[in-house]
Point group: C2
Chain length 318, copies 2
């Protein structure tokens, strides 16, 4: 097989996938236009995905192109998605592209597998026109109703709807900020002492990296880590909330690649327990080898990073 | 978008995906041929998937073609895969095609998400040439080492390596039977009282369906079901075994579609707890609405079944 074929084949492949989803969309529109659904039709409808720009159709866009923010994209353009996902997809299950971030949704746990963002000094800069108070948490209709988390699942659960792509990372436009409020981008987090404190400190730290690095790529997601019990055996145990059994992760991870103007890369990986963390705990304590996040999450991060560009992992030279 | 385009677009898309995997395979072969791996190369290699016929390349094969076993396939031919998957893929995450069944692998839990089989009277008939005692449990090198379950994980765990695609369902050729012994097709099961008893009875029941139905499609997999604890909250809890933290599912499901010569379909769905079940428990007790398996598994089964063909669910007319 001649390898020169790949780019064009992949382009065509991408078109095929998009076409499929577009076809499904049209089919669904037909149903709604008829507006006369009997029970059987409803049942059939329940088995069709509502669709939105889902699986990105840009596999042939070269990752080698420089990542610079040219203009504010309000829809998930192939160009912007290829920027965000420059260093590879951790997995390809139920991928959704929003205006300024990309995620993979875990239908069994009703939270994301991973959420990928690309930050620059410009995209995180304070912007008076963007007001997160105007954003509403909303369920994502593109997820099949069986697997869709709802605000009601979180209501009175004792947990915050914790952003994976932080609202504060998406300040170029109100829509960017608003998109981070889709429940597909949320997981139940301990509020006081975690989401509003230690986790928030980590988010601020990531934003701050844009002061010293041209491009910051960050992938965030939940973990369900085992612990040993008195019987000497290891167990994974986590709460589920609401009618849809939304999983409360035991931990969260962030894995970051920061790119200097010279194209050098520094990687950092963090795992934080979903619990109250005292304010004087330094973030560095939560640094872990990137590999341990990969093993626990079942994902491979930054697969396309050129190892020659990688100069530091968790602050240490490699 | 003209819908007549879809079949050819999908064909091209499939080719693209297969090409990609084939390319990756060739790339890997190169590494091995060089046979001079330094540490950096090894680390890079670790981030490449070892590959085998993985993502099926047959999306354009019509599901309308009659499913008849023409000859014994020893490799996962597009034709055979399209037979097995006639009624749709439950999901597309890490799909692997073996000689006589297809599965999707859960890299986080190191067990399958789902395993799909197509059975006929011929394929399950006693065959003196096939001896399951000659089959060895073996790990699947096509799974990245971070996520690959090993025999050592099961050793002395107290759990059986429980087949999802049952060995007894694949008797046309020794290779069919041998392929069911890949650890990707296993999940830890309680041995005495479950794997060797109630679960085995369910497997025999499914095989027996081939006496009355031309084609039997069965999808099998693990579940992790929540339970309420004394604090009134719901939790998902399961043991993990071995160095690779292989998940011990709390339950297993089977969802079956049996097709008569007239093309009429009957569906049955079962959920069984992974625990000792007394021999006098009738299998019917474990029947559940197919929807409840879908919600718990995060999967959609038999999505492409024409609802007009479906005449019974769990023995009741629909």
């Amino acid at each position: 097989m001649n390898k020169k074929w790949f780019p064009s084949l992949l382009t065509i492949g991408s078109i095929a996938v998009s076409s499929y989803y577009y076809g499904a969309y049209e089919e669904r529109q037909k149903f709604f236009k008829n507006n006369r659904l009997d029970e059987k039709q409803q049942s059939e409808l329940l088995h069709k995905h509502s669709t939105k720009p889902a699986f990105p159709s840009f596999a042939a866009v070269s990752a080698a192109e420089p990542a610079v923010v040219t203009e504010v994209n309000l829809t998930a353009t192939p160009w912007r998605i290829s920027q965000i996902m420059k260093y590879g997809f951790p997995s390809l299950d139920n991928v959704r592209s929003y205006s300024d971030f990309v995620l993979s949704y875990d239908r069994r746990n009703r939270v994301p597998y991973w959420v990928f963002e690309h930050l620059t000094a410009a995209s995180v800069a304070k912007n008076e026109e963007v007001d997160r108070a105007k954003c509403d948490f909303k369920s994502d209709e593109s997820i099949h109703p069986y697997f869709r988390s709802q605000n009601s699942d979180y209501f009175r659960s004792g947990f915050d709807r914790g952003h994976m792509a932080a609202a504060g990372n998406h300040r170029l436009h109100q829509k960017h900020c608003a998109d981070t409020f889709f429940l597909t981008n949320m997981a139940p987090q301990v509020g006081q002492g975690f989401n509003r404190d230690a986790w928030n400190r980590l988010e601020m730290y990531v934003r701050k990296l844009t002061k010293n690095f041209t491009n910051v790529y960050v992938c965030t997601g939940p973990l369900y880590l085992p612990h040993q019990e008195e019987d000497g055996k290891n167990y994974i145990k986590y709460q589920v909330i609401g009618a849809n059994n939304v999983a409360v992760p035991t931990h969260f991870y962030k894995i970051i690649v920061a790119e200097s103007t010279e194209g050098q890369l520094e990687m950092e990986a963090y795992i934080m327990p979903n619990q109250v963390i005292s304010d004087d705990t330094p973030l560095q304590i939560f640094q872990v080898p990137p590999e341990s996040v990969e093993r626990a999450a079942g994902l491979l991060f930054f697969d396309k990073v050129n190892k020659n560009q990688l100069v530091k992992i968790n602050g240490k030279k490699v």
